[in-house]
């Protein structure tokens, strides 16, 4: 819905594509890798998901802002996306539980948005041309200048971003009826992952990405969790070091998204950048062990190369039904498993929450073994 007070804004892609729209959120200029998300609900969870740090998020569902924003839907304390692109921003929202409208929220967090874009056209463009960088501006309206800016925006390949979104200090989160202690290595962990552990009686200590392993070990956790996060895992040698040391403890390990990629790399598997990533809440993933399918939330632009999986190292536990990409691994040389997708959902279906139960079961077994 257009509002006469909205200023003009421009979206410029690094290949020269330029789209005019109207500004919402902060007036300014922003840039990043342009990606799209096909989830029809959950714009706030997406905007605050640290895995999206530095990316321009385009929602494919046309009406965005309908139910405002509410503190209970934040996945992190700040908005993580670099900018928001929508077809039709709704300033008027309907939700008695909301704290504010999306525009004011983005403004408060200093995030630039653009509305009135033929988002479907841009989706089709990216689908055909591959992922690329772009800029949004509501202050510079010179198209050539903006295209140049998009071209010179740093590529996501080789970019280490986890340290930009990780906690600055370790934090303990006690669970009610606490049974286990889980060390969470925060590369940009989503709040709902922490919630899922807490609900299952896991007291957490969440560590900044570059915490020295000896510090983590000194807390004497029962298990280790490697979180989701933004950027390319390839330059994250410091994290591989942590994973390797955690493996050596012989305690259970679980990784989601970036954590999954790091665990894979620590076993010598390759991670490559995808032509177009998976971002949405409708991706079918088949659990190869039991043969059932779960509808999953996904958000990744990098992926573990299934050809690099040695059957002596790991077994592929989950696969994407649409394109056959690798979605989960069961490691054979240590007590660990990992998934590329997001069992914590938020936004998205809860079909995969059982993975948290599985992890808790592993922790229980592992503890029984050590005490026996």
């Amino acid at each position: 819905m257009s509002d006469p007070t909205l200023k003009p804004a421009i979206l410029a892609l690094s290949d020269g594509t330029v789209v005019k729209g109207k500004s919402f959120g902060k007036v300014g200029t922003t840039g990043g890798e342009l990606c799209f998300n096909t989830s029809m609900t959950g714009y706030q969870e997406i905007a605050t998901d640290p895995s999206y740090y530095g990316q321009l998020m385009m929602m494919t569902y046309p009406h965005i802002g309908n139910y405002g924003v509410s503190a209970r839907d934040d996945e992190a304390r700040q908005v993580m996306i670099a900018g928001l692109i929508v077809r039709s921003y709704s300033r008027q929202f309907s939700n008695t539980m909301a704290d504010s409208d999306l525009h004011s929220y983005l403004e408060r967090h200093g995030i630039v948005g653009i509305t009135g874009v033929d988002t479907r056209r841009i989706v089709r463009h990216i689908r055909q041309q591959g992922v690329m960088n772009a800029v949004i501006s509501s202050e510079i309206l010179n198209e050539d200048e903006l295209v140049e800016k998009a071209k010179s925006w740093p590529s996501m390949v080789g970019l280490e971003l986890a340290t930009k979104v990780t906690r600055k200090e370790a934090q303990t989160l006690p669970a009610e009826n606490s049974e286990f202690k889980v060390a969470v290595i925060d590369y940009g962990v989503k709040q709902n992952i922490l919630n899922n552990f807490l609900q299952r009686g896991c007291t957490l200590r969440v560590y900044p990405a570059k915490t020295d392993f000896s510090e983590i070990e000194s807390w004497n956790p029962d298990a280790f969790f490697f979180s989701n996060g933004p950027g390319d895992p390839n330059p994250m040698d410091y994290a591989l070091d942590t994973v390797s040391k955690a493996k050596a403890t012989r305690k259970p390990l679980f990784g989601i998204c970036l954590g999954h990629q790091l665990m894979s790399m620590s076993e010598g598997l390759r991670v490559h950048k995808m032509f177009v990533g998976h971002r949405g809440a409708n991706h079918p993933v088949k659990n190869l062990r039991i043969g059932t399918v779960e509808i999953t939330t996904q958000n990744h632009g990098f992926s573990v190369d299934p050809d690099s999986v040695d059957e002596k190292i790991a077994r592929i536990s989950h696969r994407n039904l649409n394109d056959g990409t690798l979605e989960g691994l069961e490691f054979l040389n240590f007590d660990g498993f990992s998934v590329q997708y997001h069992p914590e959902a938020s936004p998205g279906p809860h079909d995969s929450a059982y993975l948290f139960d599985q992890f808790v079961e592993r922790i229980r077994k592992s503890k029984e073994k050590t005490t026996a």
Binding site: M1, T38, M40, Q44, N66, R87, F93, N95, R120
Partner: protein, 942 residues
């Protein structure tokens, strides 16, 4: 698990004649099921009594039984065909009830026939309010507080318990919620409770805490035998709780739920589906959510393909019935492909990048005295669906699709609005609520005020408020000074050129639709066509299913093949229903065979014609001039086919003709001749064919003069209408005066026809096809009821049962002479009245009629296909015209009077039936003939 090999023959049960609550969506589902099962190599035996369905065409199933849907029929068929399995989930409540009844008898088990697609024992639970409640309690799903009453005394107690009125009443096991509603106060209590107890076959009703005003949602699910469940579509009702979902304006996907709220619904729906036994197939779940909280209550679950599944299929592109059939025979979801993209999995949840609006179509005008308030009992006779890139666009398009003469949601110069009537109209739910909300906003009411009265979610109200702000802005502008940006914005909101012309005219200078169109084309504003692809553009799609919008990129690529555009028949309504969709589908198939690329335009989500695999290209758009013309200009087909979509398409003929477009078949001017009573009379005079005396009038006075000349009783009606809309019989001057005034109110621009009414004449309906040389009489049908009862409401017998060979010869001769004189190319229907041996011509219709599918089924001849091929240049000599009809076929109409208890059953020149069934007679002792024959004069009224 791959498909089952232990079953070979599958019995599919249809839904019978079209009634309110069960319309042509079950032809869509049955047709998809047939295709889907035969694709897998199963032998499909089909039973359905509705001749106007595609599913009952000989090509659809291995064996088709056009028989009444009774236990006896099913038993007979099973004895002959020995099916291994029965699939009862594609034929609505009718099929499911039939399967249940036979299950209770132990019939299926005894005959070793497996029920697939549903857990039949679990159905008993979902249909029994009490058991359902217990089941929901056991899985932790909340429901409204309620209790079952078996007597008036029970009912009184329960109302006390629930804290008094209002309470909701739901009789058990009735179709379309018959007898259901809200009891607002003590005065209504006894009447409504008694009726509910009577209507329920088990004589029990549920009385329930009222959650009127809560937000209402529906989810469409699929589940396979490996217990994988996916949500195909979420639907939010614009009309809050209190209005039957079939009568509600609905929107897909949900618009006002946060992800956390939506996931509550999703989790609950999956839990519910898994709780009702083990079965593989489709399911629909309805919920209410308390505004301002997350309190969610389950309303009901339908473990079968439903009206909403048809809507969800068309809204998402996902072929629910087709996939549900495959699941029923053992496939798992992950073994099937998404047919839209071709190479991704069918086991996923579609993502929409557009907004879908469904608006029901009502026919209250046909039933004077009917209670128009919308309740929990369905009253709509059809629906339209529209697709837009935003809600305003979809809503305006839906109003353009309704074919009630509107250019969109108001702003089209249709009515003067006044505060009092708008307020009154908003106090209760009526069919035009969205329009009345627009009217209220236009009059300056606030969103809060309207929300207080209607409980419609403020987000929707804000959207309409935005539409009104666009109206207000445009009203101050002229054609010359409206900027490109402003024009673009209002077009993006779905406003038609008619609406914009009306708004621009407010500044003083009259602006026409044509002016607006020229202006916008001059400045480069034309729609683009976007693809419905199930995946929001994430993957390339194979199927050509489009909708229009005003945006940057067009996705509909034009081929260099020769093309033909077919206009569909729009929403189902009395007088224009499934029979026309039947002919549209055959027109598509026939034109394909003749080498054309076929382009289908239609907006009815219940139909087979809007399945993505019927036409080469489907535009899901209003059959509204501007939209149709935009598509025409984009596709540039050789011409248009208008004679198969009923009056909807024909109404646009003149505009196509004026634009110089080729109209296939009979020339436009000749078609128009049939509508122009003066010219048609000249033709009959020239041919020396008798007709009832008549005259034309524009005023009451003229009508009286004509009536005196032609003599009473007279038949009064507006010209250019279908289904006898507004037609009445007057026996004296006072009545005539009253009727003429009524016609002038409803059809101010039409001339009024006053015919002498032939009392006690026999009416004969003749369909035929003429190729310029040869006339093929498709069928001569004799009506049981006297002339004066609309042909659509008559019980018709094919061939005639009491006409002399001499009369028949005269009829054939007249038919041939009229066809020749009108230079017909294709279909020609003529209606006759026979009185004292004299044959009178009543009217001629140069198009495919309602009775074409009936004749096709009775004779085994593909009448629609033959007619369309002749229109495209084929000769009758190329076809096998033999008939397989051995004795007689009888067409039995079905009426909706049970849904409108306050309306008296009367039949007259205005059509009132919603559908028909076919029955094959061997002799006239059969009660299907004897009964209607006995009552043939009973209901005739003026």
């Amino acid at each position: 698990m791959p498909k089952r090999t232990d079953i070979k023959t599958i019995l599919l049960i249809g839904s019978g004649p079209i009634v309110i609550g069960q319309a042509c969506e079950f032809d869509y589902s049955g047709t998809q099921a047939c295709k889907s099962l035969r694709e897998e190599g199963y032998r499909v035996v089909l039973v359905n009594s509705n001749p106007a369905t595609i599913m009952t065409d000989p090509m659809m199933a291995d064996k088709v039984y056009l028989k009444p849907l009774t236990r006896e029929t099913i038993k007979e068929i099973c004895a002959i065909e020995k099916p291994d399995a029965v699939l009862p989930t594609m034929g609505g409540q009718t099929a499911l009830n039939l399967a249940r009844d036979l299950n209770h008898e132990g019939f299926w088990e005894k005959n070793n026939i497996q029920i697939i697609g549903v857990d039949i024992d679990a159905i008993d639970i979902t249909e029994d309010r009490h058991q359902f409640r217990e089941l929901m309690d056991s899985i932790g799903i909340e429901q409204c507080r309620s209790r079952i009453a078996k007597s008036m005394l029970d009912a009184k107690e329960i109302v006390e318990e629930l804290g008094g009125f209002p309470v909701v009443i739901r009789p058990s096991f009735t179709m379309g919620g018959a007898g259901g509603g809200i009891i607002w106060n003590k005065d209504e209590f006894e009447r409504k409770v008694l009726r509910g107890l009577e209507l329920s076959p088990v004589h029990e009703i549920l009385l329930e805490e009222s959650i009127v005003g809560w937000k209402e949602y529906e989810l469409e699910l699929l589940r396979d035998s490996n217990d994988n469940v996916v949500i195909i579509c979420s639907i939010e009702n614009f009309d809050p709780m209190g209005v039957h979902t079939g009568d509600s304006l609905t929107v897909a996907p949900t618009q006002t739920l946060t992800d956390k709220q939506y996931q509550l619904l999703r989790d609950a729906a999956i839990k519910m589906m898994r709780s009702i036994g083990t079965f593989a197939g489709g399911c629909n779940v309805q919920f209410a959510m308390e505004p301002g909280t997350d309190r969610l209550v389950a309303i009901e679950i339908n473990p079968r393909v439903s009206r909403s599944s048809a809507l969800a299929s068309k809204a998402t592109g996902y072929p629910i019935a087709k996939i549900a059939s495959k699941l029923a025979v053992g496939y798992n979801l992950d073994e099937l492909n998404n047919q839209i993209t071709g190479n991704t999995s069918a086991c996923f949840e579609p993502s929409l990048d557009y907004v879908v609006v469904k608006v029901p179509r009502f026919n209250f005008d046909k039933f004077p005295g009917v209670d128009e308030e919308l309740t929990t009992q369905m009253k709509a006779v059809g629906e339209v669906m529209s697709i837009g890139r935003n809600f305003p666009e979809a809503l305006n398009k839906a109003w353009q699709s309704l074919e009630i003469g509107r250019g969109g949601l108001g702003a089209d110069g249709y009515e003067e609005i006044d505060r009092k009537s708008v307020r009154e109209r908003l106090l209760k739910p009526y069919w035009d609520r969205s329009l009345q909300i627009r009217n209220a906003l236009k009059l300056g009411a606030s969103v809060e005020e309207i929300h207080d009265i209607t409980k419609v979610d403020p987000w929707f109200l804000e959207q309409i408020s935005y539409m009104v702000s666009l109206e207000n802005k445009t009203e101050g502008l002229t054609l010359d000074n409206i900027s490109k940006e402003d024009l673009y914005e209002i077009k993006q909101a779905g406003f038609s050129d008619v609406q914009i012309a009306h708004l621009l005219s407010k500044s003083g200078t009259k602006v026409t639709e044509h002016d607006v169109r020229s202006k916008r084309l001059d400045i480069g504003l034309k729609p683009v066509f976007k693809l419905v692809d199930t995946c929001a553009g994430e993957f390339p799609a194979q199927t050509p299913y489009y909708y229009s919008s005003y945006e940057d990129e067009n996705e509909s690529v034009i081929t260099d093949r020769k093309k033909l555009m077919i206009l569909g028949s729009g929403p189902n309504r009395i007088g224009q229903g499934i029979e026309f969709d039947y002919s549209c589908v055959h027109a598509v198939l026939a034109a394909k065979e003749m080498g054309y690329e076929t382009i289908m335009v239609n907006c009815n989500p219940e139909t087979v014609s809007t399945d993505f695999d019927v036409a080469d290209k489907l535009y899901f758009e209003p059959v509204y001039w501007e939209r149709v013309w935009d598509i025409f200009e984009h596709e540039k087909p050789e011409g248009v086919l208008l004679q198969v979509g009923g009056q909807t398409a024909l109404k646009l003929a003149k505009r196509f003709y004026d634009a110089g477009v080729t109209i296939f078949g009979t020339d436009f001017q000749k078609m128009d001749l049939a509508e122009d009573r003066g010219k048609f009379t000249e033709l009959l005079l020239k041919l020396d064919i008798p007709f009832p005396r008549f005259g034309l009038a524009l005023t009451v006075e003229q009508a009286i003069n004509v009536a005196n000349k032609v003599e009473y009783p007279v038949l009064v009606r507006p010209s250019y209408v279908l289904g006898g809309q507004g037609m009445r019989i007057a026996i004296k001057e006072e009545e005539l005066q009253e009727y003429v005034q009524a016609v002038m109110r409803t059809h101010p621009e039409n001339e009024i026809l006053v015919d002498h009414y032939l009392e006690n004449a026999i009416e004969v309906d003749v369909d035929s096809i003429y190729d310029g040389e040869q006339l093929h009489i498709s069928g001569i049908m004799q009506h049981l009821e006297p002339a004066g009862v609309h042909s659509g409401d008559s019980t018709a017998v094919l061939p005639p049962y009491s006409l002399s060979e001499e009369v028949l010869e005269t009829i054939r001769d007249y038919q041939h002479r009229i066809a020749k004189a009108m230079e017909i190319k294709g279909f020609i229907n003529v209606q006759y009245a026979v009185k004292e041996g004299v044959v009178y011509v009543l009217e001629a219709n140069p198009r495919a009629t309602r009775t074409i599918p009936f004749i096709a089924k009775a004779t085994g001849r593909p009448e629609s296909a033959i007619g369309v091929k002749v229109m495209l240049g084929a000769k009758l000599s190329e076809f096998d015209l033999s008939s397989s009809l051995k004795h007689y076929a009888i067409k039995e109409p079905v009426f909706p009077f049970d849904k409108f208890p306050e309306v008296k059953k009367e039949l007259g020149p205005e059509m009132k039936s919603t559908g028909e069934s076919i029955y094959f007679l061997e002799n006239f002792e059969d009660e299907h003939f004897r009964k209607p024959y006995e009552f043939k004069n009973l209901y005739l009224s003026r």
